[in-house]
């Protein structure tokens, strides 16, 4: 969200986000860049009040000024747009390393999000992703900037970015990074607030083994969280698979078929992944709920059903 829009900053903590990305880049007009920079330090604790991590997206062309203004305790990640070379990432790493030291932040705390938004970025993906240990998740390869670089209209209803997305996913997996990716779900409206679509997209992403989302409108936060979180049935099914798999121990068989379903080491591993991811989601929800409770108590504000925090209590 644009850091210059005060009401967005003030209310974002109530939305139930896992992270909030304070933008200095494309949503901030050029004449407000300097002003915007000055707002980050104050905005970080405000957006964290609901347990969200605070990120900042800087400008590709103002790395030094932006980093000086944003690297403060409480910041989790610097998103760097239009990353095109490993040198850019090494420069960011060096500046962040110095600022962490100067400002009493534990070394290595702040992540770098290397956003791949151009063909050149895709072409240099491996070098970029391996340029710093601060790059812990990697992906992208679609979106407004990529469309502009390739010279394509968006929202045409078919997958335009298969190659770039595939390259970035392979790079992320080869380097053992978390994958930020989304399978293709047709979108011909370009709506940024379509909750149904956000849910379907997140659910499809989860089923492909991806766990990172993001959006431009508060209406998509809850459906996205829901789509990325395994359902109760998924969890129950995973437990059932593991039970059946355990029953094989001590028998001569390594696999069996129950009701047409194969139960084997592979299915057991998938079930374990589901349970692990469900536990991580639940833990994150508890953290956020606790943060919201602390904030409301401090504000002596009664909890209301309109709070927007919809999952933490589940």
């Amino acid at each position: 969200m644009p850091v210059v829009t005060r009401r967005f900053i003030d209310h974002a903590w109530r939305r139930g986000c896992d992270f909030i990305n304070l933008d200095l880049e494309d949503s901030v007009p050029p004449h407000l860049k300097a002003h915007a920079r000055g707002l980050i330090k104050g905005a970080i604790p405000i957006v964290r009040k609901g347990g969200a991590e605070a990120f900042t997206r800087i400008n590709h062309d103002y790395v030094h000024a932006d980093l000086e203004a944003i690297v403060w305790p409480g910041l989790s990640k610097v998103n760097y747009p239009k990353a095109e070379s490993a040198d850019e990432i090494r420069l960011l790493d060096a500046v962040i390393t110095r600022l962490e030291r100067e400002r009493g932040i534990r070394p290595g705390t702040i992540e770098i999000g290397a956003n791949i938004e151009t063909a050149k970025g895709v072409a240099a993906a491996y070098e970029i992703a391996s340029a710093s240990p601060r790059v812990r998740e990697f992906g992208g390869g679609s979106g407004y900037d990529m469309s502009r670089d390739l010279g394509v209209e968006m929202f045409v209803g078919f997958e335009q970015f298969a190659y770039g997305k595939g390259e970035l996913e392979l790079v992320a997996r080869a380097l053992g990074l978390q994958v930020r990716a989304a399978p293709f779900v047709a979108n011909t409206t370009g709506s940024v607030s379509d909750a149904d679509r956000a849910f379907r997209e997140a659910e499809a992403a989860r089923k492909c083994g991806f766990g990172l989302g993001g959006g431009l409108n508060p209406a998509v936060v809850e459906p996205q969280n829901r789509g990325f979180t395994p359902t109760a049935e998924d969890v129950e099914d995973a437990r059932w698979v593991l039970e059946r798999y355990r029953e094989l121990t001590g028998t001569p068989d390594t696999w069996k078929v129950i009701d047409g379903r194969v139960i084997d080491g592979y299915e057991a591993a998938r079930a374990r992944d589901t349970l692990e991811w469900a536990a991580l989601c639940a833990e994150r929800d508890r953290e956020k709920a606790a943060a919201v409770l602390r904030t409301r108590t401090a504000m002596a504000e009664p909890t209301s059903p309109a709070s927007g925090v919809t999952r933490g209590d589940a």
Binding site: P2, V4, S27, T118, G151, Q160, Y163, D194, N217
Partner: protein
């Protein structure tokens, strides 16, 4: 920076006199006189002899003129083709930067000998093997003469040893790699969507238009047209429509008011307009102007003939 508008490049076998004579009326942005796959082996020498006199005739309608040479007959074909009036060479079966260098060395010598500016001729390279698709980066960055690059999908299918079925596109990766690497190198990727690239044929104009539009939305900048009937729908598909121009003008207005009001992120019809959306609107409007200018040039040439 000037926008290269080469939406349609009509491929005409140079030995097909009737098609050659008609080609300037087809309204193509470029015409490629084919010495390669469109000419039977026994007529290669005769074909070569036709190039020099055909260039001016082909350019009459304002089209740029290219010649597609045979990789195996490179020297003889270039020798027959590099004459004033030629815009460039379509170089098929390129597998390495060395192939590009070889063609350029001879082209440069011929430019010098025949009074063309050295470096005047462009190269359009065609990739036809797995090796070429894999090494695309070193190939297309081998020379600034390379302005466009495409796949020859039927030869690529042969190299891969596959018989493509119309319902399963086997070139998603190759085409994606072409678009990304070419865009990164600032070379225009060209091509049409599957299966027309691998099985070129006549189709209703609306079908060609749809497939060319999809190609544009994959990042292609033009199409090597196998048939004259493709040219008009291809030109149209690669020209921003009046609706699109109107939409992008509106984007620019809405964005400008938002910036004046202190934000660079503003909703429009459920979408979100910010810097890259405004930047893209500029690109589309510039493209529309460049297409208009190119069409005016061609009209002037056609009217004056």
């Amino acid at each position: 920076m000037a926008v290269l508008v080469r939406r349609s490049n009509l491929l005409v076998p140079i030995t097909d006199t009737e098609r050659v004579n008609r080609a300037w009326r087809n309204d193509a942005d470029a015409v490629t006189l084919d010495l390669e796959d469109g000419v039977v082996q026994t007529r290669k020498a005769e074909a070569r002899g036709l190039v020099k006199e055909t260039i001016a005739l082909t350019a009459k309608g304002g089209a740029e003129v290219f010649v597609r040479v045979n990789a195996a007959l490179l020297h003889a074909d270039l020798d027959a083709s590099v004459w004033p009036g030629l815009r460039g060479i379509v170089l098929p079966r390129v597998e390495s930067a060395a192939d590009v260098a070889e063609a350029i060395e001879q082209t440069t010598a011929l430019e010098r000998r025949r009074g063309l500016d050295v470096g005047a001729l462009e190269l359009i390279v065609l990739l036809e093997t797995a090796r070429a698709v894999w090494d695309i980066r070193s190939i297309i960055t081998a020379s600034p003469r390379i302005t466009q690059v495409g796949l020859d999908e039927s030869d690529l299918a042969g190299d891969l040893g596959i018989t493509p079925l119309p319902e399963h596109d086997p070139f998603v990766y190759a085409r994606g790699r072409l678009v990304v690497e070419a865009t990164a190198a600032r070379v225009q990727p060209i091509g049409i969507t599957y299966p027309l690239g691998v099985h070129p044929r006549r189709l209703p104009a609306a079908e060609i238009h749809r497939m060319a539009t999809d190609a544009r939305n994959l990042g292609m900048k033009g199409v090597l047209c196998a048939d004259p009937s493709w040219v008009v729908p291809v030109n149209d598909a690669f020209t921003p429509s009046a609706d699109l121009v109107a939409h992008h003008k509106r984007v620019r207005e809405v964005f400008a008011s938002a910036v004046a009001a202190g934000t660079a992120a503003v909703p429009l019809d459920g979408r979100m307009i910010d810097v890259p959306v405004d930047e893209w609107a500029k690109v589309v409007l510039a493209m529309a102007e460049a297409c208009d200018a190119r069409d005016a040039q061609k009209r002037a040439a056609q009217g004056g003939s």
